[in-house]
């Protein structure tokens, strides 16, 4: 069955302080899609996200489906080492229901401990009272994801979900996002620099370098021409070498 379109963008342009950042983008997203946005630094990927969230003025049209809860995880966070804010207080900015908080933290796999009783005890008695600033990169990322799913969003926007995480952790974060997407029937937009991730998890991709260079299924549109237009020079070696079913 054909899924409903939940976002339709037509002829979108964004100009900030006299500089054209995005030019004439048109694309759509269907419910349950994973749309990846790739492109070099300064291509306007983060600006596109913020524009979709209504934080920047734009020309053209952005039409979201009705009654959608859209959540966003930005790329940069400034959490001072001394910031007196516990993980519980941070979660409560979103939702005061302790049961939901514990459940969300369990579902992002905050602890390796698989025994249900133990993990609940660990979260309630230790983790929630810990300072947010004392979390490691990977743990913080999971906490942010838990935070973002607390109010059951329909759409998640992740800006480089893996920056600041080591390679091993990177794959797991994408697995987690994919797991949550399936469990909660969410639509995911993500910005990524890693084309392998795009091939593995996304069913649509936008190649962006101020204007749209490609849009479609990754294995169809990410050809050497598009990649060299995107990153410049001969980058056909970037093409993934492992097989896919």
């Amino acid at each position: 069955m054909e899924q409903e379109t939940i976002l339709n963008v037509h002829d979108l342009s964004v100009t900030l302080e006299g500089n054209a950042i995005l030019n004439n983008l048109s694309f759509f997203i269907k419910k349950g899609d994973v749309l990846a946005i790739v492109g070099p630094n300064g291509a306007g990927k983060s600006v596109l996200f913020r524009t979709l969230l209504g934080l920047f003025p734009y020309e053209g049209s952005i039409v979201w489906g009705q009654k959608l809860k859209i959540n966003y995880i930005p790329q940069k966070f400034y959490i001072d080492k001394d910031l007196p804010l516990t993980i519980r207080e941070f979660m409560e900015f979103k939702n005061h229901d302790l049961e939901k908080i514990v459940h969300a933290l369990i579902s992002v796999g905050i602890s390796e401990d698989t025994q249900d009783g133990h993990i609940e005890h660990f979260i309630r008695e230790h983790l929630l009272n810990k300072r947010l600033s004392l979390s490691s990169g990977g743990q913080l990322q999971r906490i942010l994801i838990a935070w973002s799913i607390l109010d059951n969003p329909d759409v998640l926007l992740f800006d480089e979900p893996t920056s600041g995480i080591d390679i091993g952790g990177e794959e797991t974060i994408y697995n987690l996002i994919e797991k949550l997407r399936v469990e909660r029937n969410m639509t995911v937009l993500l910005i990524s620099h890693d084309l392998n991730i795009v091939y593995k998890y996304a069913n649509n991709v936008i190649c962006l370098n101020k204007k749209m260079i490609c849009f479609g299924r990754p294995n169809l549109v990410l050809d050497p021409t598009a990649l060299s237009q995107l990153y410049g020079g001969d980058v056909s070696f970037y093409k993934h070498e492992h097989a896919h079913e």
Partner: protein, 248 residues
């Protein structure tokens, strides 16, 4: 009593000022109050009104200049606020200068007490409502905006509250020292706290204790309370610093 209430209000607001890296704003704002006080004295009206007026003009002025120029707000505050101190020093009538600079709690009236109690109550009601925006705004502005929180509005309300507490506190600590009463108790509280709730509570408590102990001490040794209050809060800060290094 008035001083204790101001200590509570100043400590609470100071807690958020430190989080938002605005420590020096309180100091700068208290300087701006001086020309306001001076003009009020010259016109023979209540100095609190003059000070509040000057502060409101100052925060609106900085907000406007920040949008119209590319100068960072620290630079604006640095220029704007020292200029007003200079202007205030020239304008303030000599006999009142010492009181304006360092405060004199013995001149606080009942009306001042009621005004202070009312204002601090308002603060205690408003701050919890904007806490989420204030704290998330420090962590990520984009995230905060994506939740539909209007950061600029919240900042403005916050600065307005800071101006009120500074204006109220001028009688206690004076234009030169009021900034410290906002910042030091909160800085001490941060040394001891893991959570936002304990941080705000300690900040209020330290603000109140500094004011009370400072006044009692100043009565005992017969010196102007303002500097003593600030010194007491400084001692509290040093003590908490010791606990902080133990925690780490």
């Amino acid at each position: 009593m008035t001083a204790v209430l101001i200590g509570i209000g100043a400590g609470y607001l100071g807690a958020f000022m430190i989080l938002r890296r605005m420590s020096l704003v309180g100091d700068a704002l208290s300087h701006v109050a001086l020309p306001g006080i001076a003009i009020a004295l010259l016109l023979n009206i209540n100095p609190f009104i003059g000070a509040s007026f000057a502060l409101v003009v100052a925060i609106i002025g900085v907000a406007v200049l920040e949008r119209k120029t590319t100068l960072p707000s620290e630079t604006l505050i640095g220029i704007f606020f020292t200029l007003s101190l200079a202007l205030g020093l020239i304008l303030t009538p000599q006999p009142d200068l010492l009181e304006a600079l360092f405060g004199d709690i013995t001149k606080v009236s009942n009306a001042d007490l009621y005004l202070t109690a009312f204002s601090v109550l308002i603060m205690l009601l408003i701050i919890p409502r904007i806490t989420k925006g204030l704290v998330l705004g420090v962590i990520s502005k984009d995230l905060t905006r994506s939740l539909g929180i209007k950061i600029n509005t919240i900042n403005f309300i916050f600065l307005l509250l800071v101006s009120i507490v500074v204006a109220l506190g001028l009688k206690v600590a004076g234009t030169l020292l009021m900034g410290s009463l906002v910042i030091i108790p909160a800085a001490a509280a941060k040394n001891l706290s893991n959570s936002l709730s304990s941080y705000s509570l300690w900040a209020m408590l330290f603000g109140a204790v500094s004011s009370l102990a400072g006044i009692l001490l100043s009565l005992y040794i017969g010196f102007t309370p303002g500097p003593i209050i600030v010194l007491v809060s400084g001692v509290i800060f040093l003590i908490t610093l010791f606990f902080k290094s133990e925690n780490n």
